[in-house]
């Protein structure tokens, strides 16, 4: 195995998960990596580990560099098992190592692993000298769990922020200048939308806390390491944290016999006539986590479902539950649907939008059985009007 040195004496010792396609319900088309970092100084430090089934790969990478029993400190920036899953085994290999984590990190790790490890709880801002270098631990609660912490090495201008700035990409490349920017940007956006979006305010606080630091490398716990595009990705994070969107429309729907789909397309036509870029996603074909990639940049969100058994389609119910948790703000909403009798779905969707705090400038459209030409013409006009409101 070739050694991957990201800074002199600091190595990437992670695992590449080429095969994962479902990351707790998030569709990871490109797989992912779990990034662990080994720092060789007077003290030897391992920052984070890998998902349990890639332990062997991490260990092999460490052994290329040093005898793992020489590890003095293991830093656990984040309790979630994709990063803590190899702690039990590596701490068997390095029984004298101290495990450094945050206040909530210790509680969480005890709940997960039921082991009485040699814990050291780092307070936020705490510094630890490891020889030529210093480790600075900063708590970043809810980016994206209560325990989340970042490790900063001032002598190296290196930030190890764990899940923040990550992306689910499995690749041979390790750095942002070795991979196509469009691919990297999209993967980072998808990751932010599905993992970090609910915590925009906390991201803002974390960016503020980290703003004063000199950073020339950001090495997250998933995917590619940032060194050439740091200003670009920081700018994107600021936008996303502030829920800044573009004048784009996203139509998300599911359909039973095609009526709701026809309404969706009539809306799309009207929006296009108003020169609004519009993306159309059917929940039959598009995974809900991919819809979020479109949603993160779209100001206007149009959501439609037919009524089945006095409610919306279960696919739409699932989508809205997911959306509610991710809490996108500052959106314009429009609901639509079709029905045979009852017809509750469209109204329920509109209520959902209002409960989310979205502005709903035009009341929902709900059409009986199969829409006719005149009705579709009216729907198209609504699309156009929404486009004008969007500006």
């Amino acid at each position: 195995m070739n050694k991957i040195e990201i800074k002199p004496g600091i190595y990437w010792v992670g695992g590449i998960d080429w095969h994962i396609q479902d990351f707790h319900g998030y569709k990871t088309h490109r797989g992912t990596t779990y990034n662990a970092y080994l720092i060789i100084d007077e003290k030897v430090v391992l920052v984070d580990t890998v998902k349990h089934y890639l332990y062997g790969e991490m260990l092999a990478r460490i052994k290329e560099i040093i005898d793992p029993s020489k590890i003095d400190y293991v830093v656990s920036n984040h309790v979630e098992m994709d990063h803590s899953g190899s702690l039990p085994k590596i701490l068997e290999e390095a029984p004298n190592a101290t495990l450094i984590t945050s206040v909530q990190g210790e509680k969480g790790l005890r709940r997960h692993y039921k082991r009485d490890w040699n814990f050291h709880v780092a307070q936020s801002g705490e510094e630890l000298s490891i020889g030529k270098r210093t480790l600075v631990f900063v708590h970043v609660p809810m980016v994206h769990w209560p325990d989340s912490m970042v490790t900063y090495i001032p002598e190296e201008n290196l930030l190890l922020p764990n899940d923040a700035f990550g992306q689910h990409i499995a690749s041979a490349e390790r750095f942002d200048d070795e991979i196509e920017w469009g691919v990297l940007k999209e993967a980072t956006a998808t990751y932010y939308a599905n993992i970090v979006m609910p915590y925009g305010t906390q991201v803002g606080k974390a960016l503020e806390a980290l703003g004063g630091l000199d950073i020339d490398m950001i090495a997250p716990s998933h995917g590619i390491i940032w060194r050439s595009r740091i200003p670009d990705i920081l700018a994107e994070y600021v936008k996303w944290a502030n829920h800044e969107t573009e004048a784009r429309a996203l139509i998300v729907y599911d359909t039973m016999w095609g009526s709701t789909e026809r309404i969706a397309y009539a809306l799309a036509e009207g929006l296009s006539e108003a020169d609004v870029p519009v993306t159309v996603r059917s929940l039959k074909n598009t995974h809900i986590s991919d819809v979020m990639t479109d949603l993160i940049t779209s100001k206007l969100i149009l959501i439609g479902s037919p009524t089945i058994n006095n409610g919306m389609l279960p696919s739409m119910g699932g989508f809205l539950t997911y959306l509610k948790g991710l809490r996108p703000k500052d959106r314009l909403g429009f609901a639509f649907g079709s029905f045979g009798w009852g017809g509750q779905a469209a109204g329920e969707i509109e209520k959902f939008m209002k409960d989310m705090g979205w502005e709903v400038p035009i009341e929902y459209v709900n059409l009986k059985f199969v829409p006719d030409t005149e009705e579709l013409g009216n729907v198209k006009s609504i699309g156009k009007e929404l486009g004008k409101i969007l500006g």
């Binding site: 909530q104 708590h139 609660p141 809810m142 209560p146 915590y199 305010t201 906390q202």
Partner: protein, 52 residues
């Protein structure tokens, strides 16, 4: 005695239980918590809580 939920992380402040992590004894109403009290889980400030 009203319960309040953190809108950031979902932690529930139950006055009957207090908040041992911040040395808040059981029986203290949410409104009587000090202004600088923060969520024991995620550090959110008091104004980020909503009544359940």
């Amino acid at each position: 005695m009203d319960k309040y939920r953190c809108t950031v992380c979902g932690y529930l402040y139950d006055p009957k239980k207090g908040d041992p992590d911040n040395d808040i004894e059981p029986g203290i109403e949410f409104s009587d918590l000090p202004d600088d009290w923060t969520c024991p889980l995620c550090g959110a400030s008091k104004d980020q809580f909503e009544m359940e």
